[in-house]
Symmetry: C2
Subunit: 600 residues, 2 copies
């Protein structure tokens, strides 16, 4: 919708909103009211919670004795369209706090009354839509006729709690979405459908990659053999890349005295996310971060300027408390392995390190098939300098280096004012996946606080101790989350270099088993991850199964192949690729793996 959205404000005046994001939010908010009006008319005993617009649509929380069912969703949609036909106006009204309390008490809307009573001001507003009166600041579209009947969808049901607190009354939440144009809704629904097919939890089960065990606990990932194969390929690739770029790997324990976390400040600022336990009447912590461990190694001996930069990398598994309600497959967990590194360098080395890091980020993302990305530069809020660690001069040095390096790399970025963490500015990189969704993966962060807290030093050319600069950085973020993203990006059809099974050898009948076994051995000797499917099943069935398992190559061995020492090659995307000698197949697959190509 290129034209502006006409809206009515709480004071009754009208206006136009031309900012698309703002217009969309208002449109969704109005559609949410429309949904509430439909629900109220279908279920008259329903009382109202809140109904805001959210990042991908809107929801409304209802207090209703009757449990809504999936079948109600389309009835609600139908009623919404009826109300659109009637072109009901969104009628605002300004009223005093007392009047508002009286009004909503009279309507039996106890939750609304609670909200009103918490408000400080004396002037409040509400909107009436048909029989529905809602306590609301607006603005809204002028009438229901302005909502296109094909621009919204009532999507799903969920349980929720009043004010999001489990101790409060349980409510029923209905999710919906709306877009300014029906075509946009269609695109969104298609993406949603596509996302459902790619759901890494579903594919993770089907492809036997990982599981979560109720007996062991929520948010804890068990990597199965096939998942671990992919993980090892990722780790090995990163290791080779990092070593060739001057990183050194270290290995640090998962637990440490709380003294360490008091020095680092985590005990003070991050305590609620940490798992703690007692050992010999002393408190220990299951590590939520790797930084203090890497710092111990830095401090294990005297460092000279000649030793710097030191780049310590680790696949470090950390544990952080998350509420069980927010856990989600591999994407949001309680234990995960960061591809973590900390760079200790002099101030003179900062720019070079940042430039090399951005280069590395792009190389790694490209290698995994992510070509599009968004970059955010988070800087401090200069009006609140007291909130931040580090000196004025350190912040401007750091920001300067980040900006200079991005510029040199020809990157575009969005400047996020006031979004920096207290210990330093940072760059975050989000990749865009195959269906257009952004995923936050890489991060590069300055840290002005840990070098001070741990009194880090190196001896400069002047023979005096100096404080090193410390950078935190992760490329993939966490292996668990990255695996989830990869599965969804590729819809489970991993590129050949990552595929847990790269080829399956299928003998046509009993008498081709030995030959098929010999082919398997050859492949194994050449480092190809291959399996044999010699079950007593029909060929068609085996091929369909391999196709479902997204195995790149099916190698069929029958009489003809046995005689000629070849195999009939089938690819998951291209189908039949004809007969090939074992050598040429091996050459070919190695080539695909080395180039890390996504196809065939």
């Amino acid at each position: 919708m290129a034209t502006a959205l006409k809206v009515r404000f709480a004071d009754g005046t009208t206006g136009e909103v031309s900012d698309p994001a703002q217009a969309l939010e208002i449109y969704r908010h109005s559609t949410s009211h429309l949904m509430a009006a439909a629900v109220s008319s279908l279920f008259p005993q329903t009382r109202l919670g809140i109904g805001p617009a959210v990042s991908d649509g809107f929801y409304y929380d209802f207090d209703c004795e009757t449990a809504f069912g999936e079948g109600d969703l389309s009835r609600i949609e139908d009623r919404m369209r009826e109300l659109i036909t009637r072109d009901l106006p969104f009628k605002p009204r300004i009223l005093s706090k007392e009047e508002a309390v009286g009004l909503f008490s009279g309507l039996g809307e106890a939750l609304k009354v609670e909200l009103i009573e918490e408000r400080a001001g004396q002037q409040l507003s509400c909107y009436q839509l048909g029989d529905l009166v809602d306590f609301c600041i607006g603005p809204h579209v002028c009438s229901t006729g302005m909502i296109h009947p094909d621009s919204f969808r009532v999507l799903s049901l969920a349980g929720s709690y009043w004010k999001g607190d489990e101790r409060n009354r349980k409510l029923q939440r209905i999710y919906g979405t709306a877009f300014l144009a029906p075509a946009e809704l269609q695109a969104y629904l298609t993406q949603l459908e596509e996302a459902k097919k790619r759901d890494h939890r579903k594919l993770g089960r089907e492809l036997d990659l990982f599981s979560i065990s109720e007996e062991a606990g929520p948010g804890l990932i068990f990597w199965h053999p096939r998942g671990t194969r992919v993980r090892f390929v990722i780790e090995d690739f990163l290791r080779r890349t990092l070593v060739s770029r001057g990183y050194e790997f270290v290995t640090t324990p998962h637990v440490a005295r709380n003294a360490l976390w008091r020095t680092s400040g985590h005990y003070e600022y991050y305590r609620e996310n940490m798992y703690v336990f007692d050992v010999d009447d002393e408190e220990f912590v299951l590590k939520p971060m790797n930084c203090p461990g890497h710092i111990q190694i830095y401090k294990s001996r005297m460092r000279s300027y000649r030793d710097l930069p030191l780049r310590f990398a680790e696949f470090g598994t950390v544990y952080r408390y998350e509420k069980s309600g927010v856990l989600h497959g591999m994407l949001r967990v309680r234990g995960f392995t960061q591809d973590d590194a900390h760079i200790f360098c002099t101030r003179e080395q900062v720019y070079g390190e940042i430039a090399a890091l951005l280069d590395l980020v792009l190389y790694i993302m490209g290698s995994f098939g992510f070509e599009q990305y968004q970059v955010e530069l988070s800087v401090r809020d200069e009006t609140k300098n007291e909130k931040y660690a580090g000196t004025e001069e350190e912040w401007s040095m750091a920001e300067g280096a980040l900006v200079q390096a991005m510029t040199a790399k020809g990157m575009q970025w969005k400047r996020m004012e006031g979004e920096a963490v207290f210990y330093g500015p940072k760059i975050d990189v989000k990749v865009i996946d195959a269906i257009g969704r952004p995923w936050q993966l890489s991060t590069v962060q300055f840290d002005f606080t840990l070098p001070r807290r741990f009194s880090l030093a190196y001896i400069g050319p002047d023979g005096q101790p100096h404080q090193p600069v410390m950078l935190h950085r992760a490329l993939l973020g966490s292996l668990e989350r990255f695996m989830g993203v990869l599965v969804e990006h590729y819809a489970g059809a991993f590129p050949i270099w990552l595929a847990p099974v790269q080829a399956v050898v299928i003998p046509i009948s009993e008498r081709h088993r030995t030959y098929a076994g010999a082919v398997l051995t050859r492949l194994g000797e050449n480092g190809i991850r291959a399996e044999l499917d010699d079950r007593n099943e029909k060929m068609g069935y085996k091929i369909r199964e391999a196709q479902t398992a997204k195995i790149p190559f099916m190698l069929i061995a029958g009489d003809k192949e046995m005689e000629s020492g070849k195999i009939a090659v089938r690819n998951r995307f291209e189908g039949d690729m004809g007969a090939q000698s074992i050598e040429s197949f091996i050459e070919g697959i190695k080539g695909y793996a080395e180039s890390r190509s996504a196809r065939p």
Copy 2:
């Protein structure tokens, strides 16, 4: 000493002891009394604790106001030799409990009185040696003249507590050793000296392999870059070997609900060694074992007999509580990474699996340079069948398979009656290191209890569920401990394939730096772990440092080498090896690495 030892028993009779182990124990015990007599004569106010023979010598605990110093040790030795010259008899005496209490009370020996009062019997014995009267059951050598003046050594001082309990009186312990022949003492002292030079804690610091941080806590290993390089070589080698032998790697979390550990039985039987903490008012456990995790993966889907054997491997880091007093470098720690695996198979597959395991154990040990080993077969105590899980038939099947496989492999073993763990019989393999010390590394264990506790099953060819057999096995035991053993075995001079730095390139002067840098790049491209030493130091100094760091090759680059495109090669063992072309050096070092040879 081939001849028997003449001894005097408590009743005054004499006899001969011909069993060498028994004779040695008596000889050490007598030397301990001799030491006590020497201490009493030098420090007359000293009161006695106990003074037994132990596995590598003897000690005596003393209660003395004066703190003994290192300088006192040789004074004590001298006084012992004086007493030998006087050929004092060990005079036994049988006395009643009352007489004994009276005697030692009169001597002011309160600790001896406490010991006597705890004894049940009425007949007790003591031995007198010069002025020293000791409550002792004997036997002893007949007189001090039978102790060879060059057969013992007073070694060291330590603090101790009466009856080993920290709440009791603090005592001073003096350690010594003695052998039946002076030559044996000399051999032992040489080994002790050699062990001191090889101490992995000292070498670990000098070679920058690892550290333990007071701030982080005891028993927790920080692997430095150089240590991690060695660890990665070990892990990669194991991974390749295991994958080629049909293992599949998995990755499991470090924490789980206590419910999991209740099912496994660890919560009941192993609770005091486990670290536990609360999450959402529920108890979680930091894993002390990997087995329940691997079992979760086994149980994540229905298994068929066609899927077996399943061999799940993991470098699994576990945490177990140990008293801080027993912690020792990398050898005894609180957190360690097992090279763990669990095999799930049918009963028919058991023998094949055990045979393959023994083959694997010997291959791995040989690859790391251990050619000698001792094997122990731990079986149950058949008189106490109620102590053990599993049926009669399972135990005999398991023991039969272990014995059959060892026999087929031509192995010698020691049968340890009653030493089996309650859940099944096991084989333990101890390797003998370069100076003759045994180290327990590999273990292969049957487990009859976990498959039952977790209701594991597979569908047999009959379509019915059956219970699989489960084997636990570790080859290296733990990576931390194995690293400590490797360092001590090789005295820090790792074989080329394991060396953290395989070569150091040393330019003779400033103008050879570029050439040396180019050599370094070539080595890096060929996967060789090399460093450049271009500091402004003398050549001799750099070579000495590289030698101390036990770096296999020093590559010296000067005018001659630069002109001819060669390098002058020096080896840590063989010294100057002449000039070589870069290619031929690379070929050579790759050959050494591939063959995993210990030299040059």
